[in-house]
Amino acid sequence: MSQTVAAGPGASAGTPASRRRSPLAVGLAAAGLALVIVGFVASVGAFPESWNFGLADPIDRTRRWLINNQTSHWLYTVLLNPLTDLADAGIRRLEAILRWFPWYVYPVFCGLGLWRVRGRVAGALGFCGVVLIGMTDLWQQGFATLALMGVAVFLALLAGIPLGIAAWRNDRFASVLRPTLDAMQTMPGFVYLIPFVLLFGIGRVPALIATVIFALPPVVRLTDVGLRNVPGPMVEASEMFGATDRQTLRLVRIPAARPAILAGANQTTMLAMSMVVIAAFIGSGGLGQDVLRAMRDIDVGEASEAGIAIVIMAIILDRFTRGIATLGERGRGPQTNAPAGGSLRATDTVAIRPVAAATALVALVGGIVGHNKFPEWLQWHYAPYINDITAWARDNLYDIGNSGIGTGPLSDFITVYMVTPLRELLSSGIPWPAMIGLGVLGGLLARGVTLGLGVGVALFLIGWLGMWELSMDTLAQTLVAVAATLAVAVPLGIQASHSDRFQKLADPVLDFLQTIPSFVLLVPVITLFHVGRIPGIIASVIYALPAAVHYTDLGLRRVPAEVHEAATSFGATRGQRLRRVELPLAAPELMVAVNQVIMLVLAMVVIAGLVGGGGLGLETVNALRRSDAVGRGFEAGIAIVLLAGILDRLTRGVADRLRPPPAA
């Protein structure tokens, strides 16, 4: 401690601790190199299957025991079953309330609400969207999804905001909580389902619990961050007036942190939405179940109807929760030196009150009269048209005029020249000790001894679980998809950063793509690419694209205008400026983009197990489908978590390395 202080201001530049070569690091590097050499000399190939630790059997035994004792053991009769019943009753109750209101309240409410928070066009689209859900006869499923989600979001906020406050209050708690949240956020949603299926079996309650836990991190994190970022002078001012800690928290800190907390609530809602849909795998019911069933039957039309209903719900929820977050800010927007005359808020509230009152009245009357079923005469299905299009696409786009151009040859090309060779290289071409050795060296270079050791141990564990080849399969798919995403996204991001017009055009499209729950994205992709590994990869690219473009754009835009001008004033061409100045300066941000892309791609590649993606995803899907495969699925789940952890830490380590030294 005192050593670093005594080093004086000059020494704070750079990171002396990490640059110093400790004997430990040298030893580890030597060990890593030795592993690589030994691996290649002995050419042992993939991790030996005989070393399998055999976690699957005990898990399956536990599972059987749990099923047999579900009605008798005290753990269930005293604790878990009452909780399950309570949660189930809560969901049922909310669903009943939602169903009680007359159907026409929903499109009107959404239309008016979106009109208010986003403008006229959004309002009209919202109205039509809700009507469309009803027209395709998905009204009841929609309520089931909404009720499950509502309860999940409520519970997540109920737990998350106090956790965030606790993390802000107590640094020790925060230092434990933050890495936990980090780890939670690197885990693909799909993996969350497995332990709850193990414990609770199939049903809405395990889906609810998995959703709550999956959706928790953003609101906790942003509550903590929001409270920490309350400007010091504001807090000092409050204290100077003799406010107690509680008064300062209630009157100053929480209101000041409100935008952050609401942003967290928005993210939590969106995560809950995507999870509720994925949780159809374990019987959450609702719209997700419809998509899942249709996808199993490869009925793209049905899947599209349910999928589009989900997207509509997701977008409306997103815009609403974001609207609430910004509504309070509207009157007090950014710093303006020239205040406009008159109050900005008074006019806002005038028009809305009578409308809201009228809507409430209509809702009550309609509910009592019993207009709660979406009328049948309004029903109209577009699934047949989608199926026609799908059939046409399959027949005509697969190999356009036998020319060797089309989705089929493209799939084959990616499979034959990219995925398969890479998979073979990773799983057996590079001997497993060499792979671990390379991982250790990578960790050492990216961050240091701890990460090097961590990567080595994690890779070894993957092998020990008997998941080596499957993991390498998933890794190969992930790497191909990441490369493809970056190849598309970085040029788009560069373009967006250079052209405000392009950014304005691209923003809504990317925003829209980002709102689509991962699982639903598979629907249009299987239309074009059928099943196999390729649709998963393509869906991953689409899924990860928005984040990649966004971070690239952000990183490049953060390059100060002055630096830009300085480069230009020396006569740099646009390309020179990009290569020599902008990209190096944006490198840490680009690395963050890579990190995000890897995480998103991995999550998607795993879900793609559903459409024949193979690898770890398939094992997980099987575990959720057949109760005798839970053990294998559990192992695959752990392997996914380890793989995600390795990739996340390595890329973040590199991102930190790329950051310029902080100012002294």
């Binding site: 005192s2 202080v5 005594a6 004086g8 400007p231 002078p233 504001m234 000092e236 001012a237 409050s238 204290e239 100077m240 007036f241 003799g242 406010a243 107690t244 008064q247 009157l251 100053v252 209101p255 000041a256 409100r258 309070g328 009157g331 007090r332 927007g333 950014p334 710093q335 303006t336 030196n337 020239a338 205040p339 406009a340 109050s343 808020r345």
Partner: protein, 363 residues
């Protein structure tokens, strides 16, 4: 206002009594703030005369405030002037115990702060003291009126009453009609008026100003200074004012303390600082000071004595600067009569006195 003429040398004993006396509203004795862990060692080095950097490399401690003692009398404006890093912001935060001082004692309005309980401290802050902040420290989620009423709300004053009081204060600072705006919709100068109103709303005995005008542009800053002078003439609060702007210190202060590396190098009236700088560091500031523009006419006036005032003599207001009297002093060999706001003569300004001060400043 303190009025000390150049001839009557300040009575040292009286000054000391004022500094440490029981009648001082704010009293600070042997105050130290040392950041770091080996605070005792750092203090011993400092007492032995070590420089700040030396102490830092030896002990790892930063001596931010170094054995500061002073007193501020009721109704007096005491300005602490120092450059950035001199410890002046730390000092004002120690006095109000926003941060804990390492050694020493503070007494504000009869409350000894060093060992005051949280409740006693809160009581003092609620009723006796208030602070205006450099970057305003306004609450962006509250309307102007709710910002101003904050102190009263914390005290538990009812909504009606606190809004009424907030309105009164807003009228005082010239922000009538802006109640329902949010602070960030206002210009910087107006925002700081809100900050000032918020402090005044609780009717404090002592006001702390932490570089309140440094974030404003020069013209607005000047307006705000003038208004503060006018307001202080009326309200007569005890003020501790922190600034890095020497001209601002001269304009506002009854007494100035020049702070450097955590310690006071000189404490005195603006006139004393200008005419008798304690060392080269202080002199460096005085050389750029536009003396005639900052010193008020009353600072150099001689008492009226028994002599009658000639009606034909030119007159100037007590708050006017010396500069305003210069044309008369240069053109006519007659004294200028310094009058108060009601036009009553207070004293006479003589050419020789002014010339002496201006000449000294040139050296």
């Amino acid at each position: 206002m303190d009025q000390i003429s150049p001839e009557s040398a300040p009575d040292e004993a009286a000054r000391d009594a004022a500094v440490s006396g029981a009648d001082a509203t704010v009293r600070v004795a042997d105050l130290w703030k040392i950041f770091g862990r080996k605070v005792e060692a750092a203090r011993d080095m400092a007492v032995a005369g070590a420089e700040r950097d030396e102490i830092r490399s030896e002990t790892g401690c930063l001596v931010a405030v170094r054995d500061v003692s002073f007193g501020v009398n009721a109704g007096e404006t005491f300005v602490v002037m120092g450059l950035s890093g001199s410890g002046k912001s730390t000092l004002v935060r120690c006095i109000s115990r926003l941060i804990e001082p390492t050694f020493g004692d503070m007494e504000v309005c009869g409350t000894v702060l060093a060992d005051a309980s949280d409740a006693a401290l809160r009581e003092l802050r609620r009723n006796k003291i208030a602070m205006v902040f450099q970057h305003f420290g306004l609450f962006p989620h509250r309307r102007v009126v709710d910002n101003v009423a904050y102190g009263l709300e914390v005290q538990g004053v009812g909504r009606e009453e606190r809004h009424e009081r907030a309105h009164e204060v807003l009228v005082t600072v010239g922000l009538d009609g802006w109640e329902h705006h949010y602070p960030q919709q206002l210009s910087g100068g107006m925002q700081q008026r809100v900050g000032l109103a918020r402090a005044l709303a609780v009717e404090p005995e002592v006001l702390f100003f932490d570089e309140p005008f440094s974030a404003l542009d020069p013209l607005i800053r000047r307006d705000m200074q003038d208004e503060l002078v006018a307001l202080q003439l009326e309200l007569q609060r005890t003020i501790v004012f922190i600034t890095h702007d020497f001209a601002e210190a001269l304009r506002l202060a009854d007494r100035i303390a020049i702070m450097r590396d955590g310690a006071f190098t000189q404490v005195g009236t603006p006139l004393e600082i200008l005419t008798q700088p304690a060392d080269d560091y202080v002199r460096a500031f005085t050389q750029d000071a536009p003396i005639a523009k900052v010193l008020p006419a009353c600072s150099l006036m001689r008492p009226l004595g028994d002599g009658a005032v000639d009606e034909s003599w030119p007159r100037t207001a007590e708050t006017a600067t010396l500069e305003s009297a210069l044309p008369f002093l240069l053109s006519e060999h007659r004294p200028v009569v310094v009058c108060n706001a009601d036009g009553d003569p207070l004293g006479l300004l003589h050419q020789d006195d002014v010339a002496a001060v201006l000449e000294q400043n040139l050296r």
